[in-house]
């Protein structure tokens, strides 16, 4: 499946390469392609580099390279400021929301891709419409709901709220992935005596691996990054998440750039790792699901 995805993605690129060969020499390619790409790469990467420099060089140093290397800032944020706890909380809500979102999106996506049922179009449109609901606008009503449920200051409020906001796009993405698995595969298994449920788990689910990885990763990244809900629903420091901790670091340690940078690196590492895994599914997933509806 993974190789299949890559193969499909590369076909138009190859066709375009052939065209590139027809016109424009090396000089044109440099001006048109490499120069703007290099400039854009600098724009993207210098901020990351600058953060790493601050995180690794000793306090008070103004050197443009992280030398001599020190890990004192990481010790400060991890042990003294409490990033160990924030990190644990963010991992908990990220992983829980990942599993909840993926499971529910798998059910919904399968229903959308495989059944023609009354209300299907309405359901699709409703999902798309939720994309226009700004999370910031939901702070007040969600706060009152969670207070009614006794979930203020509980990590569950974040798991639920983030899952709800992850779901619509996840379902649309997932239905694209399910639709890409031919129905005949499932039918063949059922002819061989499988129930529909067994056919799904034995034949369809293994082929959905890229979809599960993509949807799960989106859910994890969004939950890991969500700031406003955590700021609104959590006031107990033991339940702070990474973005909230980082915002306090920005506010209170504004003179201590080393701590701020080290906190930033701690916040960045998990999402950057996850991003590296899903990067190749990103464009395909969007073209399969979201853009073409």
């Amino acid at each position: 499946m993974a190789t299949d995805v890559i193969a499909r993605r590369r076909v138009p690129a190859r066709a375009r390469a052939a065209r590139g060969g027809m016109r424009g020499g090396d000089r044109g390619r440099i001006v048109r392609l490499y120069l703007p790409l290099a400039l854009y790469l600098l724009f993207t990467l210098i901020p990351f580099y600058w953060m790493i420099v601050f995180a690794l060089r000793p306090a008070g140093s103004t050197a443009p390279v992280p030398w001599p290397i020190t890990f004192e800032h990481f010790e400060t944020v991890w042990n003294d400021i409490g990033y160990a706890v924030f990190f644990r909380n963010s991992v908990i809500i990220g992983v829980l929301s990942l599993f909840l979102t993926t499971a529910i999106a798998l059910m919904g996506g399968y229903a959308l891709a495989r059944f023609r049922f009354r209300g299907r179009t309405f359901f699709m449109v409703a999902l798309l419409c939720t994309q226009f609901i700004p999370g910031a606008m939901m702070l007040i009503p969600l706060f009152t709901i969670f207070r009614g449920l006794g979930l203020i200051n509980s990590l569950w409020s974040l798991v639920v709220a983030d899952t709800v906001f992850n779901l619509p796009l996840s379902i649309i993405l997932m239905s694209g992935f399910v639709a890409a698995v031919p129905f005949q595969v499932e039918e063949a298994a059922m002819v061989d005596g499988c129930t529909r449920r067994r056919a799904f788990f034995a034949v369809v689910l293994p082929q959905l691996r890229p979809g599960l990885i993509a949807v799960g990763s989106f859910a994890f990244i969004h939950t890991w990054n969500n700031f406003l809900f955590a700021l609104m629903f959590i006031s107990k420091q033991d339940n702070f998440t990474i973005p909230v901790g980082l915002s306090y670091t920005i506010g209170e340690y504004s003179a201590d750039f080393g701590a701020l940078a080290a906190g930033g690196v701690v916040a960045a590492v998990p999402v950057v790792c996850v991003f590296a895994v899903i990067q190749r599914y990103l464009v395909h997933g969007i073209s399969a699901g979201a853009v073409k509806g």
Partner: protein
């Protein structure tokens, strides 16, 4: 019900009729409770005096909150004006740069996969982290601005420079997602179209204008719409980077709502602001879809 679904080899017709509804029921339930109901409750609270810090004054307010918002609150109008400026400038620049970036990384060259990973990576970075990173760049004593010959002043504290600084920061994070959406659209264009156009003698510019752009139209409309809502909604970055300042020149309407909700706990007035925000967003989205005749070619 569950029994019926598992017994028949193909599931009986009755079972199949119910299966999709069972499958979407968790989603429907969650969306009803945590998205639809809250929207209704915002309308209700907007008609109430409801402040967590002043419980003695809570009660029915009628249209009092709306009157205050429209006639007595200059920050409502100035935040609205800044929201419009913020969304239009940010989306315009993101569209231009995102389209250019998508066209570049759609070419084939050695190391394309790595280049894509790197230029798309800020997409995964949160608003708060973006603030943290750019504070390191912008601070006047040790930031990178000192190499650019910038005056030894805080760019974020100066009303003349703060807008440019905030726009640049958000571009860093916003352009990648635009480029990802447009790249997905570019890959849906059949290569034969370009070959046919080349055979007909169309140059690079004409192929772009007559093949690429028309095919990208739906992707562009959808991307600008989604991103506009997103930038409208973008509170994380402004809340942490400028806090709406200096002198509230960078306060958007949602940021104002968030400040009312988080800092002053004034839920009644905050709900009135939220209602106004929803109406404006709804109106602008419908207008935009109508003007761009989204999907008109396919759906008729």
């Amino acid at each position: 019900m569950a029994l019926a679904r598992t017994t028949g080899a193909r599931g009986g017709p009755r079972a199949l009729r119910w299966a999709p509804y069972l499958l979407i029921s968790p989603t429907v339930l969650l969306i009803a409770v945590f998205l639809v109901y809250p929207i209704g409750s915002v309308l209700y609270y907007s008609l109430q005096h409801y402040n967590l810090t002043k419980p003695w004054a809570n009660g029915f307010a009628g249209l009092e909150n709306f009157r205050e918002m429209l006639f007595e609150d200059p920050l409502f109008w100035s935040s609205l004006a800044f929201t419009a400026k913020w969304v239009v400038v940010e989306i315009g620049l993101q569209l231009l740069l995102g389209l250019a970036l998508a066209l570049i990384v759609n070419e084939s060259f050695i190391g394309r996969g790595l280049a894509r990973s790197l230029v798309f990576s800020p997409w995964a970075v949160s608003g708060v982290l973006t603030t943290g990173i750019w504070i390191l760049l912008y601070n006047p004593t040790t930031g990178i601005v000192r190499y650019l010959g910038a005056p030894e002043a805080a760019v974020l504290g100066n009303p003349d420079t703060v807008f440019g600084a905030v726009v640049l920061t958000e571009l860093w994070r916003g352009v990648p997602f635009f480029a990802i959406l447009l790249l997905a659209g570019l890959q849906g264009i059949p290569g034969e179209l370009y070959e046919a156009a080349a055979v007909d003698g169309a140059g690079r510019v004409r192929r772009f204008a007559h093949v690429t752009l028309p095919h990208l139209r739906d992707a562009i409309v959808l991307a600008t719409l989604l991103r506009s809502v997103w930038e409208f909604n973008n509170v994380d970055l402004l809340y942490t980077l400028t806090g709406g300042g200096p002198a509230q020149v960078t306060t958007t309407l949602p940021l104002y709502v968030a400040q009312r909700a988080i800092d002053s706990k004034d839920f009644g007035y905050g709900s009135a602001l939220t209602t106004a925000g929803f109406l404006i967003l709804l109106f602008c989205s419908l207008l935009y879809l109508r003007l761009s005749r989204f999907g008109a070619d396919h759906k008729g």
